[in-house]
């Protein structure tokens, strides 16, 4: 009986596979996917105890290449790819900044500058006046001097750049232009700087909507505001040139600061890629969100993807266990709804009649699942008392 059921099932599987093969070959998935389907199907049938051992031989060869290899590769490849993409971006962003560890330190410095400016406006206005009186050089000195008292590592790094800034604004422009992708004469630098400033302002407005940009944004938003304040102070005290120089200095410092800020969002990506660290820095992210509006955009953008990856990754790792769990779930459901579903007869009825409380029915082409055994029947007669 069981053997006949098993043989019928096997013939059904083969029949389905053979008749669907043409579709698989034509529509794209191909023979391998079809074999995977057959292998997994047969493996599940064996797990359910419905198909006998002789099929195992055929099954054993097919499912291993199909179910084991292909899903693992398919699932792992994208994850590795994404992780690789995430980590390199972080690493790529690190190199432009000379030191990785000081990266975190300069940010508090910049942050302090940003926050001190609105609060301690008097100090900053004084510094702006001084810078205005002594041209751009003093301004750069001030900039260099600010971070140094906060932390040692940022001060040397900041000092490296200021000397370049201390030189004539034209030289600075050349250096920066050379550093940047565009080569243009120094006179145009001023126009560029202005245009660049406008662009950054525009970007600043666009940042909240943008996904990846906000990382640059965090610095970009805050920095321009700060330096605009400086420029305003300088313009009141001195004049157009000072203004332009201030703008140039400000603009040069802004692109550098975002680099400083850039590395810090990167740890988020790293943390997101690795769930353990993510928990640790999750709180850190929250604090950051409160501080800067653009960062929240980073978080929603970055968080969902890793979550999905983690889920699917778990699926990968636990694939064989998952099947077992599915069976357990089925058993649980059966136990929970044992009343209705544990024993089931699926069939077609030819006739159902009733005489008073006595029911008679004739069924055909049925599949019965009774006492964990599958029984097939061609015809069945039922006599029930209601």
């Amino acid at each position: 009986m069981a053997t006949s059921t098993s043989s019928v099932y096997v013939s059904v599987i083969e029949d389905v596979i053979n008749k669907v093969r043409e579709e698989f070959m034509n529509s794209g998935p191909g023979e391998d996917v079809l074999k995977e389907l057959q292998g997994t199907w047969e493996a599940k049938m064996m797990q359910a105890g419905v198909v006998n051992t002789p099929i195992e031989r055929a099954v054993a060869s097919k499912p291993t290449p199909g179910s084991a290899i292909t899903p693992v590769h398919d699932l792992n490849v994208p994850y590795e790819g994404t992780e690789e993409y995430e980590t390199p971006t972080a690493e790529i962003l690190f190199p432009p900044t000379p030191l990785q560890t000081p990266i975190q330190t300069p940010l508090p410095g910049t942050g302090d500058n940003l926050y001190n400016i609105p609060t301690g406006g008097s100090d900053f206005s004084a510094s702006a006046n001084e810078s205005g009186s002594s041209n751009g050089g003093s301004n750069t000195e001030l900039k260099a001097g600010r971070p140094s008292p906060y932390m040692q590592p940022p001060s040397p790094w900041m000092n490296h750049r200021p000397p370049l800034d201390v030189n004539i604004a034209y030289v600075e422009g050349r250096d920066e232009v050379d550093r940047g992708t565009s080569h243009q004469p120094p006179t145009q630098d001023f126009f560029q700087m202005n245009s660049g400033k406008r662009k950054r302002e525009d970007l600043a407005s666009q940042y909240p909507a943008g996904g990846f940009i906000p990382q640059q944004d965090g610095a970009g938003d805050a920095a321009p505001e700060v330096f605009e304040i400086e420029v305003s102070g300088g313009s009141t005290s001195i004049g157009g040139r000072a203004c332009s120089e201030m703008v140039t200095c400000a603009m040069r410092s802004t692109p550098k600061i975002p680099q400083l800020d850039g590395p810090i969002p990167d740890p988020y990506d790293d943390a997101l890629s690795t769930p353990n660290i993510y928990n640790y820095q999750g709180t850190f992210n929250e604090d950051y969100n409160v501080a800067n509006t653009p960062t929240p955009n980073d978080l929603p953008v970055s968080t969902p993807a890793p979550v999905v990856q983690n889920d699917v990754g778990d699926d990968d790792d636990d694939e064989p266990p998952l099947n077992e769990n599915d069976d357990d779930d089925l058993d649980d459901v059966d136990q929970g709804e044992e009343v209705n579903t544990h024993h089931l007869v699926l069939a077609q009825f030819d006739k159902v009649t009733r005489t008073k409380s006595r029911w008679k029915c004739t069924l055909k082409d049925g599949i019965m699942r009774i006492n964990n055994k599958d029984i097939l029947f061609n015809k069945a007669t039922g006599e029930f008392d209601f």
Binding site: V12, V20, E23, V50, T341, W359, D374, F377, N378, F384
Partner: protein
């Protein structure tokens, strides 16, 4: 969502409903096991799958059987993995409906008698549903006693029309 998983329901054509397969949606949706166990009415589909010349109606009824559940699970996994398109998964299931029906007609010759106390009967959408208590299944080889069993039967005339 998973139209091909929907084993039961009023007679309708599977092709009329556009399947909506989405891996991320699948996680939010209840698993097909939950669906199938809560549904009660087998579905009849008149769809034409891989062989248009053979315009034959099929029951989705047998998808609830062990072999059908195993196939549905497999297709579900493969669709979620992205290795299989939902449309093709539906085609496979429709082919299974045909093959299973055909196999039962041609390969199975056994007869069974069922006796028991009828606890519940229901006739809806051309589908009879009986819930028996203390049922006795007899067949040539053996007999099985079951405290409670559910019988779901579609109208055989729907296939011969």
């Amino acid at each position: 969502m998973y139209d091909y998983i929907r084993l039961e329901g009023p007679p309708s054509s599977t092709s009329t409903r556009a399947p909506n397969f989405c891996a991320h949606k699948a996680r939010e949706e209840p698993t097909f096991t939950e669906r199938t166990f809560h549904n009660t009415n087998p579905k009849i589909s008149y769809s034409v799958a891989s062989n248009p010349s053979k315009n034959m109606a099929t029951f989705e009824l047998y998808r609830r059987s062990t072999i059908g559940m195993c196939l549905t699970e497999t297709l579900d996994e493969m669709v979620q993995n992205g290795t299989l398109s939902p449309e093709l998964a539906i085609q496979v299931l429709v082919q299974f409906d045909k093959s299973m029906t055909e196999a039962l007609e041609t390969q199975v010759k056994s007869k069974v008698s069922i006796k028991g106390h009828l606890h519940t009967y229901r006739f809806c959408d051309n589908v009879w549903t009986f819930i028996l208590q203390d049922a006795l299944f007899k067949n040539e080889d053996s007999q099985e006693n079951v405290g409670r069993v559910k019988i779901v039967a579609c109208d055989s005339k729907l296939l011969t029309q």
